[in-house]
Symmetry: C2
């Protein structure tokens, strides 16, 4: 570790000039006297690595997306699978240090070594910096995605379905947690702490994956879509609370009530406060934008707003995406919605695929390898967990009473994918040392299965209702997009 | 340095779990057993730092841009000045390690410490990672800018004005280099090597700044605009050659002819080859895009193409922006130009300001402080260099013979800004140890002056012709944008 660190110090923090640096002016600020050779070159090579990574990511996302859309699966599933193919489980073009990979595992780094004169002593630092940048672009991607989802959501509808969404979210946390924990303890004789962790991992919902599929199906503004989004947002908050509870239980052996109350109050205040203050301020913001004369006024002003709230969300220990979602919701109510939506789409198009492909690339399918003994043991637990994961969420849709026309199955299915949120739980459990290898592998199998099963399942359950609705109300339309446009218009 | 490196190793490379991590799932891949606490938190804090930096950058760019557009100056000047205000020279919100700043100098880092619980032991690593990400976003910004400029350029026109652009570029390298070096040696008794370095720094042209101003004035597709862009692109290549010559002169005391021939042949082959092969391939690319069904097909396919060529440019020791520019040029000839332009604009709107604000933020105005003795001495040399810098480029416009209707002054003025390219020269000179403090300060003063003077000057000389043309051809139009639209239409 120290060797590696010194190595990094040499390459990143010492500055040294090199002959052909092109983009490296950023590092060549001449006021610093102690410039040395590798810094400039290192910066250029990081840029080269990032450019190559983006080429590979975009290629994988488009290839996967196009294939999936042709066999009537959600494109986002293709992006995930494309990510798996270029990631740690398959071709290892795009790997990350946090997946336990070093620069030697990365085909992109080998390519840089062979084509762009990447020197061996710089390899690890370039790999680390490139991974840092790509990971951060992925995080900006999911922030922009949630901003766009907020923009395409309807605040009034969301408030109207609020109680139903709350029930869905709460049941979707309690049911899988209780069933999962109890089942592991009584059926599989798993000790209490790992059983609680596995149960907690079952409570998560990946808002990113669900929202993306809903958007692809044109179902975001449907009543079902709004209930799912509302519930997924609440689930995100509940997930943070559950994680806090479980983690403090493992760490200190007790539950810190004060911390939990602080979290819940903080989250509530943030969401309600952001929307109230945002609605009050948004007319002034729009007025300001109308006064502005330079390019990109509405987009940049909105992003200043969205990133500020994302920052506040992080500062009060919530997720950044909640801030971006809230700002999207607020701006959706202004006259600029349409214009803003048009401008956000290309930005989302270049950033969001980075997120999904990275989720895929970081998914390590080696847990599915039956040659490893703990995987075999894990497989049995995993089968149980996957069943609980799916059933525990599917039943939530049926908690929505008195709305016979609702597609209740689709609501439950929409809550299934655990995605990146599930991985946080698994990661926390792994780091705490509380999980056995088999339980850990089982949790990861559950996260992978639910994440990859949910998109096609969601499409399936929505298409069934659509066919019904189409048959009753409108003449058959050409494709999905036309169908959903009709749906959207019906709602307006 | 070792302390710092170990510190980084602790925080970045060791993994440790922390309670409330939100976005940190990216780091929580559970397969890695040795996860420790700070990694996840560190990632979230880097995200927080990047979000805050973007808020500050967008705010500075919009504030500066709007003020400048109101007092009839180019918005990009406002972005540069906005950058100076938030940068190392003024409020120090956004500072970079390569400007010799540490985390303690950054107000954003202090803000993180006070509001987001950034622990002291993580401060330097979060600062380093945040700076790395922002610098890379700036580099992506200038790549997207040149892609957009290529898309708005006219390849046929560019080839038509090629010979004129070549003369402008060559004269614009030789004249300031000869006058600057000779003047320093004979008038100021500067030794040969630093005089040659200062002369070399005078040869650069910042294509980014000039192109942005031209785009703002709607003058990109004018004949003058195309000559400037063509000459600036060639100047970029010549600049790399000059830098290689001067650097090898300082380093080994001799000029490596083989290296220079390799560079020139490489650059020529790249530019011509990219355009020939690109023109041949682009119909297939468009055909492919027309077959695609998922969102963002044209944008992502084009970016795959642009980033690939940017990578190749880096690999053969050219600038990444040349690759992006070539792809923009090629795609401008396809039927998708309009659609692609519309989609690139929002992407450019969010990335390009990062580049210009960072150029401003990294500009250290302390070289202008007359209290420092070497600055006083430098000021006299700087006055001379600035004069040569301006005159040496202004005369280039008058080398274009036989085109009386051309605004020759505007061509020369368009070549004035040294910008980031000038800083590379200054940085290389500084790192080589060949420059005295006074000469170094003088070069930086020259770069700052030409960079900040050029945008308003360029606007001025273009407005004069426009007024003339307007008076002769069309009835007076309302604003600059309408005028330039008229200009553009006249050309089509």
């Amino acid at each position: 570790m120290i060797f590696f660190a010194e190595d990094m110090a040499d390459t990143i923090y010492s500055m040294h000039w090199h002959l052909l640096i092109s983009q490296s002016w950023l590092s060549h600020y001449p006021v610093l006297a102690a410039t040395t050779e590798s810094e400039g070159e290192s910066n250029t090579l990081v840029l080269a690595g990032v450019l190559l990574s983006l080429v590979v990511i975009y290629f994988a996302s488009k290839l996967g997306g196009e294939i999936c859309s042709r066999i009537n699966l959600p494109p986002v599933l293709g992006e995930l699978v494309g990510g798996v193919l270029i990631g740690v489980s398959a071709f290892r073009l795009l790997v990350f240090p946090d997946s336990g990979c070093s620069a030697d595992d990365s085909l992109i780094i080998s390519f840089l070594q062979n084509t762009a004169d990447l020197a061996p002593e710089m390899t690890e630092s370039v790999f680390a910096a490139q991974s840092e940048v790509i990971s951060l672009l992925a995080e900006l991607g999911v922030i922009i995605l949630l901003f766009e989802i907020g923009l395409e959501s309807d605040l009034k509808e969301l408030i109207r379905v609020g109680p139903q969404a709350a029930i869905v979210a709460v049941v979707g946390v309690i049911a899988p947690f209780a069933a999962g924990t109890a089942g592991l303890v009584y059926l599989f004789n798993v000790p209490a702490i790992p059983a609680i962790f596995a149960g907690a991992a079952l409570t998560a919902t990946s808002i990113g994956i669900t929202a993306k599929v809903l958007a692809e199906l044109g179902q975001l503004s449907s009543k079902e879509g709004q209930i799912i989004i509302g519930a997924a947002v609440l689930d995100d908050v509940l997930g943070i609370v559950v994680l806090a509870v479980v983690a403090s239980l493992v760490k200190t052996g007790e539950i810190q009530i004060a911390n939990i109350i602080y979290l819940i109050i903080g989250a509530g205040t943030f969401l309600i406060g952001a929307i109230l203050i945002g609605r009050f301020l948004s007319p002034y913001l729009i007025g300001l934008v109308n006064e502005m004369k330079t390019r990109g006024q509405i987009l940049l002003t909105s992003l200043i707003f969205a990133f500020s709230l994302s920052y506040i969300a992080i500062a009060i220990h919530l997720e950044a995406i909640l801030g971006a979602f809230a700002v999207g919701l607020i701006l959706a109510e202004t006259e600029k919605r349409k214009e803003l939506e048009e401008q956000v789409i290309p930005v989302a198009d270049i950033l969001v695929p980075i997120f999904f492909v990275c989720v895929g690339a970081k998914t390590d399918l080696s847990v599915l390898n039956p040659a490893v003994p703990s995987n075999r043991e894990g497989l049995i637990i995993a089968t149980f967990l996957i069943l609980v994961a799916i059933l525990g969420k599917v039943i939530t849709g049926f908690t929505v009473f008195g709305q016979p026309q609702l597609n209740k199955l689709s609501i439950g299915v929409g809550m299934i994918p655990r995605g990146e949120v599930g991985l946080v739980f698994a990661g926390v459990g792994s780091a705490s040392g509380a999980l056995s290898e088999a339980t850990e592998a089982a949790i990861i199998m559950m996260v992978i299965s639910t994440t990859f099963i949910a998109p096609p399942l969601l499409r399936l359950v929505f298409q069934q209702t659509e066919t019904n609705i189409q048959a009753n109300i409108t003449p058959p339309a050409e494709g999905i997009s036309t169908q959903s446009e009709t749906m959207d218009k019906l709602q307006e």
